[in-house]
Structure formats: structure tokens, C-alpha cells
């Protein structure tokens, strides 16, 4: 009966209209919510987050104990730098290359020392933080947005780590490796695009441009 109720609840939730959430009139909540969504709507961030989560989680709980705090520390270092304008953005290849490495490592399932996990997680958090400049937001709005980014990225990573760590059955472990190969494959393609001949990007209206650097300004702007 509990399972049935849970299933029905999940089904009901899936029909919840979410349109209104993107148009909240409450001052500041728009930037905060936009910040929380930021890791999800920037494909390079999402790729790095997923890759890092698989990479850390696959190694086990003792590595997660090092990796998660290191990631948070990286965010704590990177976000203020982005907020203060020291760094405006990170070119996509610098975000995608670590994702490719993480994906390849997950696909191979080779063990790693905890120190390596710590360094890698710190780098991932730092890169995401540095690449999360508030854009048009200023002052309190920018702060809300940065806090949102931290919470969104952290929340996503925690869930990912928990799921991956709990995947104990052989087929679940294999699924993680398959996901790692997907992350690596996507990242390798995007890296190749960085070396591709100039292509006209219709979103920017100019030739060339970073294939992953399309920022949804409306996520960060007031509704």
C-alpha cells in the first residue's frame, strides 16, 4: 500500500505545472532560483557535475568523505571570485576536458587514492564556481544567485553521490560505467567542436563561438 501511495504521489507530482515557477514576482527569489537552476541549464556545468559525481561516488564512501567537502570548498573559493568580477567566465574546453577525464575513469572503474579524489573534486567545484558569474545581477541579487548556485550544485552532487554509492549490485555498477562512457563521449565531441572550422552560431548571429557558451540570461534576470 505504501509503495502504491508513493507511486501515485510521484505520478501526481509529475503533472504539476512548473511554468509559474519561472515567473515568480518575489524580489530576489528569481535570482536565487535562477542560481539553483544554473548548474542544470549550463550544459558544460551539468556535464562536469555528472562526471564528477560518478567519478567520486564510484570510488566508495571513504572517497566521498573527501570528495564532497573538497567540492564544496572549490565552490566556496570560486563563487566569490566570480561574484567580485575577478573571473567572468571559463572557456568551455576547461570545463569539458575534466568531465571527459572523469567519464573515462568511471568507464574504466580503476581505483584512485583519496588524495586524487580530493584534488579533482576541488578543481571541479572551483571551475563551476568561477564560471558562475552573476551576469546582470548586482548586489543582493548577485549574492542570492551565487548562494543558489552553491545550493543547486551541492544538492545535485549529494544526490548523485548517494545514488552511485548505493548501487551495489553488479548490473548497477555496470550502469555507472556506461554513464561514465556517455559523459566522456559527449565531452570528447564538445572538445572536438572547439577545434572545428568556424560554424555560424544562429543564437549569437556570428561565426564561430564556443559551442557550450550559451548563457540563458533570463535565468539570472528579473522576471
Amino acid at each position: 500500500m505504501n509503495r502504491l501511495r508513493t507511486s501515485l504521489l510521484v505520478l501526481a507530482l509529475s503533472f504539476l505545472p512548473s511554468l509559474a515557477r519561472a515567473h515568480t514576482p518575489i524580489e530576489g527569489v528569481g535570482f536565487f532560483y535562477g542560481g539553483m537552476l544554473h548548474p542544470l541549464v549550463i550544459p558544460a556545468h551539468l556535464l562536469l557535475l555528472v562526471g564528477a559525481g560518478l567519478w567520486i561516488g564510484q570510488q566508495g564512501i571513504r572517497h566521498i568523505e573527501v570528495g564532497l567537502p573538497a567540492f564544496v570548498a572549490g565552490l566556496a573559493l570560486g563563487l566569490p571570485c566570480a561574484g567580485l568580477g575577478y573571473v567572468t567566465f571559463i572557456p568551455a574546453p576547461f570545463l569539458v576536458a575534466p568531465a571527459a577525464l572523469a567519464g573515462l575513469w568511471v568507464a574504466s572503474a580503476w581505483p584512485l587514492p583519496r588524495e586524487a579524489i580530493g584534488v579533482g573534486a576541488l578543481a571541479a567545484g572551483l571551475l563551476i564556481g568561477l564560471d558562475s558569474a552573476p551576469g546582470t545581477a548586482e548586489g543582493r541579487d548577485a549574492l542570492f544567485m551565487l548562494i543558489g548556485v552553491a545550493l543547486g550544485a551541492g544538492f545535485l552532487l549529494i544526490h548523485e553521490l548517494a545514488l552511485v554509492e548505493f548501487f551495489r549490485r553488479p548490473w548497477q555498477r555496470i550502469a555507472v560505467r556506461v554513464l561514465g562512457s556517455w559523459v566522456a563521449a559527449i565531452a570528447l565531441m564538445v572538445l572536438a567542436l572547439s577545434f572545428a572550422p568556424e560554424r555560424r552560431d544562429s543564437e549569437k548571429g556570428t561565426a564561430g563561438g564556443d559551442p557550450a557558451e550559451v548563457r540563458p540570461d533570463s535565468v539570472n534576470s528579473e522576471p
Binding site: R21, P43, H159, F166, I186, L188, M189, R199, S218, V219
Partner: protein
């Protein structure tokens, strides 16, 4: 342990459900459009579809460890081919290679051939280059590239999973016949594409 996994899965689902889907529909038609464009690219060509399903089928047919090695290796080699296509390195007879992949993989399944794992991986890898190259060169200029890549890699992986799921029927005698028959159909589709019938 199962309860904990269920709770975590439910929390994750809740977090994802609470995420506003309209972000794709508002400012970034490119993101959603790029993903859909990439996701549907392997699905809109039957030559791609049958070959991807055949990889999963053959992996299930070969059993462990091929059943998971092939779906792990294939996307990576496909990405290599895709990278070649993106940077403009020409590859001769791509369409013929894609059709041939369906023929060869389908025949392997139909005739219940089980070569050594390195040979199987080599065959699959060689064909993966052709498929990836096609996806890379056909990357539409209007699409958000990374979203496109995410889309077609996921679609390809799901086709593999479909093939594996169907291939698990080999555990039963009738299932084995069904899988081998499917391999025959896949090979015939490949012949149809190669000869220009389709």
C-alpha cells in the same frame, strides 16, 4: 538498504520534478532544440536504429563480459568518429559503412557467431566510427552543439539498452530463436540500405 535507496531515489525524483522545465522553453530554444535534434538523429534513420539495437543484441548474445563492454566502448569510439566528422576529417563511404554495420552485426546474431571478445570489440568499434562520423558531420548549425551531443549519445545508449533487453531472451530456447531472427531482419535492413532499396 533497499529502503534507503528508495528514499534517495524519491528525493532525487522530487528535486528533479521541482526543477522548472520551462527554462528550456523560455530563453534557450537552442538548448531544448539542440537536445531534441540530437536525440532524434539516431532515431530518424533506420540504418542507425537497427545497427545500435544490434550492438546491444550482440552483446547480450555474447553474454558476459561483452554485454557491458560493448555499450561502454561503443559511445567512446563513436565520439571519436564524431570528432573526426566535426573537425572535417573525411571518411569514405560513411553511409555504406553504416549499412554494412547492420549487415555484419545482424549476420553475427543470425548465425550465432561468437568470436573472441577483442575481435567483437574491434568489429563494433570499427562500425562505431562510421556512425559517429555521420552524427558529427550532420550536426545542424542551428543547434546548441553540446545539447545535440548529449541528445544523440543518450539516444544511442538507449537503443543499446533496448537491444540488450531484447537480447536477454536468449536465456530461453524460443527467445534464442527470436533473437537470431531479429538479427536476420537487421541484416536484411542493412542490405536494403546498401542496395538502395530503402
Amino acid at each position: 538498504m533497499n529502503r534507503s535507496v528508495s528514499r534517495i531515489a524519491a528525493l532525487t525524483a522530487g528535486f528533479l520534478l521541482a526543477s522548472a522545465a520551462p527554462v528550456f522553453a523560455h530563453s534557450e530554444g537552442g538548448l531544448g532544440g539542440g537536445f531534441i535534434s540530437g536525440f532524434t538523429h539516431p532515431l530518424l534513420g533506420w540504418d542507425h536504429v537497427v545497427a545500435m539495437v544490434a550492438v546491444g543484441l550482440w552483446g547480450a548474445f555474447l553474454e558476459k563480459p561483452a554485454i557491458w563492454i560493448l555499450p561502454v566502448v561503443f559511445p567512446l569510439v563513436m565520439a571519436l568518429g564524431g570528432s573526426l566528422g566535426v573537425v572535417g576529417v573525411p571518411l569514405p563511404a560513411v553511409e555504406a559503412g553504416i549499412a554494412a554495420s547492420a549487415i555484419v552485426l545482424g549476420a553475427m546474431i543470425a548465425f550465432a557467431l561468437k568470436p573472441p571478445l577483442p575481435v567483437a570489440a574491434l568489429i563494433v568499434g570499427a562500425f562505431a566510427v562510421f556512425h559517429g562520423h555521420a552524427h558529427g558531420t550532420e550536426l545542424p548549425e542551428a543547434a546548441n552543439a553540446i545539447a545535440y551531443c548529449i541528445g544523440f549519445v543518450i539516444a544511442t545508449g538507449l537503443l543499446h539498452l533496448g537491444g540488450i533487453a531484447f537480447g536477454l531472451l536468449v536465456r530461453w530456447p524460443q527467445g534464442r530463436i527470436a533473437v537470431r531472427a531479429a538479427g536476420g531482419v537487421i541484416a536484411l535492413v542493412g542490405v536494403a540500405y546498401l542496395t538502395g532499396v530503402v
